[in-house]
């Protein structure tokens, strides 16, 4: 084999590899319509909550998060043409954020959690999240967006203090929930632009706990908790309220919110 032929082969190989890598690094030329409408041929549809942005008086109103905190979407199967033995696999992409999916393979009645964690570089930008459900060649796609506000988590300490109050009471008064003082919780700040009422989400292996509290003088300094059973509930199933923190009131059951807080 001559040097010239060898150079030709090597040059050809390098050209092919470079071309493939360049093509792979290009963004997709055409994407699914991001109007949130499901694919026509899909054998199932996925439902994603919360809806964001919401159209109000012709304006798009976005929900917010901050860098490093978790924006959590709940995904379920709806309008399934025929119940399948195979699960729907949920995947998601979001430029400018990390995505973690819990319980990614769901059957009807189960709930996947798509956790989107904005990067610092995304502050002031809108994060577009594309969530896809696939099963056996069929797929459905939903797109949601939220904005990343500037800020940091300055609520964790107080939110944890409130959670501890509720957990202690729940462990004694509602042992059927399986929540004890040893239950491990991980938290994330939500609704960073809400100021008078603050919100925080905590997650145990089994429960999502939404804590909210009213930053107000007694007797209006209430605190609330609502609990959603993860992976099989889309909305809270229990809710309790401390009417005044200053008065050290015991929690009492309250009307359960119809939707999760985000």
């Amino acid at each position: 084999m001559s040097n010239r032929r060898l150079a030709g082969i090597l040059g050809g190989c390098i050209a092919v590899i470079v071309a493939v890598v360049v093509i792979a690094s290009l963004p997709p030329a055409s994407m699914e319509p991001d109007d949130g409408e499901p694919d026509e041929n899909s054998a199932f549809h996925i439902n994603v909550i919360p809806e964001t942005p919401v159209q109000t008086n012709g304006d798009s109103v976005f929900k917010y998060s901050i860098a490093g905190q978790h924006f959590i979407f709940l995904v379920t199967i709806t309008d399934e043409a025929q119940e399948s033995e195979l699960p729907v696999h949920i995947s998601a992409t979001a430029a400018g954020a990390e995505v973690v999916i819990y319980y990614a393979d769901i059957f009807r009645g189960e709930v996947a959690e798509v956790v989107v964690i904005p990067k610092q570089a995304s502050v002031g930008k809108t994060i577009k999240v594309t969530i896809t459900g696939t099963r056996d060649g069929a797929s459905d796609k939903k797109v949601a967006s939220f904005e990343v506000a500037e800020g940091e988590d300055d609520r964790q300490e107080y939110a944890t203090e409130l959670l501890d109050k509720f957990v202690s009471w729940l462990a004694t008064n509602h042992p059927e929930l399986g929540i004890t003082e040893d239950t491990a919780w991980n938290g994330t700040m939500v609704s960073p632009v809400w100021l008078v009422v603050s919100h925080y989400l905590f997650f145990s292996e089994e429960w999502e706990a939404h804590i909210s509290w009213h930053i107000m003088i007694p007797p209006y300094d209430w605190a609330k908790i609502d609990l959603r059973h993860r992976f099989d509930e889309l909305a809270p199933s229990y809710a309790f309220e401390i009417s005044s923190l200053d008065a050290n009131s015991d929690p009492v059951a309250m009307e359960v919110p119809e939707t999760v807080w985000r």
Binding site: I9, G12, V20, H89, I90, E98, Y102, A104, D105
Partner: protein, 348 residues
């Protein structure tokens, strides 16, 4: 008769020894990275890439040039080995190129934390826009073919398959090594007995199978929050091709020495392992089209063969990359949960 009985006993003894070594080394393959990783995490602590991007950026300023330098050293070792004919240098280079795969055994959010620091030579391939590590994903086809039918039957063999590959590779490697030493002790010019009857390069074959198992195990590691696991298919693919190149080059050298015994041996023993003639015809088709003969015989032909096979395999792997397949978090959870069995619940 006495001689046969004696050799049978020896073979049984050697096989038993190989089994013991295989068990020990399989255990070491799986456990040493964990022990080493825990120790190294004191010096290379885990960092959440989303929460502490500045620390990651700061670390990368130092790590990036080191990674490039390591990769350059590995490339120099491989090329020097081929140019000078010192194939051990090339073999060592190939092993060094694959070694960072063990960094995957230590799950971390930041890919260079703990034992992940071994992956520093992979920095060049770990691009967020196009993950070059996946350009060897065609290597997963045998894995897919074995795992999927079991998965349909609600049986998960993914991790077991990786262990079996690691153990089988080590067993073949050890048998090959013992046979080779035994042959040398007997002053044989050509080692052509025991496992060498079934493979002309059992040690290289053992390395390829062992590293395939390690590659699978690496790809199966869970992805901690904020981290990613693109797998290590490209390093395995290139390291394996290099090993095959070395084996071919060694055979060419022996052929030039005009060893009649070796030529006779080569006519009866397969190169790596016996495959059906149709498969063999498909695998060697590119060589036949390129060189108009069955095997490369000169240094230039070897270079051309390596380049063409590497390009073809990368081209085939590109379909996985372009289709962004497997969906979701990648190979670590393919083909997904066993239907009907709830998945693991992880803490946020």
């Amino acid at each position: 008769m006495e001689l046969t009985r004696s050799r049978t006993g020896l073979l049984a003894g050697i096989s038993a020894l190989a089994v013991v070594f295989t068990i020990a080394l399989t255990f070491a393959t799986l456990q040493l990275p964990v022990i080493l990783g825990n120790w190294l995490s004191k010096y290379f602590p885990d960092i959440h890439p989303v929460i502490e991007p500045d620390r990651v950026a700061e670390f990368m300023v130092v790590a990036r040039p080191i990674g490039y330098a390591c990769l350059a050293i590995i490339a120099v070792l491989i090329v020097t080995g081929f140019v000078t004919g010192k194939k051990r240098l090339s073999s060592f280079g190939s092993f060094a190129f694959f070694l960072p795969t063990f960094g995957y055994f230590f799950a971390s959010m930041f890919f260079l934390a703990g034992l992940g620091i071994l992956r520093v030579p992979f920095i060049s391939f770990w691009d967020p826009n196009v993950n070059l590590m996946n350009f060897g994903d065609i290597s997963y086809v045998p894995y897919m073919a074995l795992v999927y039918p079991f998965w349909l039957g609600h049986i998960d063999i993914r991790e077991i398959l990786a262990w079996i590959a690691i153990g089988t590779g080590l067993f073949i490697f050890i048998l090959g090594t013992i046979s080779w030493f035994y042959g040398r002790a007997q002053r044989r010019k050509t080692v052509d007995f025991w496992i060498y009857r079934y493979s002309r390069h059992p040690q290289y074959l053992g390395f390829i199978i062992w590293s395939y198992g390690a590659m699978l195990f690496a790809a199966q590691q869970p992805v901690p929050m904020g981290g990613s696991n693109p797998g290590a298919s490209l390093p395995w693919l290139l390291a394996s091709l290099l090993i095959i190149w070395i084996a071919l080059a060694e055979e060419n050298k022996i052929r030039k020495e005009d060893s009649e015994a070796y030529l006779q041996y080569r006519a009866h023993a397969p190169f790596m392992f016996r495959v059906p003639s149709l498969v063999s015809a498909v695998l060697t088709l590119p060589i036949k089209l390129l060189l108009k003969k069955n095997r490369p015989e000169t240094g230039r032909e070897l270079v051309a063969t390596f380049a063409v096979y590497a390009t073809l395999l990368i081209l085939l792997s590109s379909s996985f990359v372009l289709l962004d397949w497997p969906p979701g978090i990648g190979w670590s959870d393919w083909p997904g949960l066993i239907p009907g069995i709830p998945g693991p619940i992880m803490n946020l």
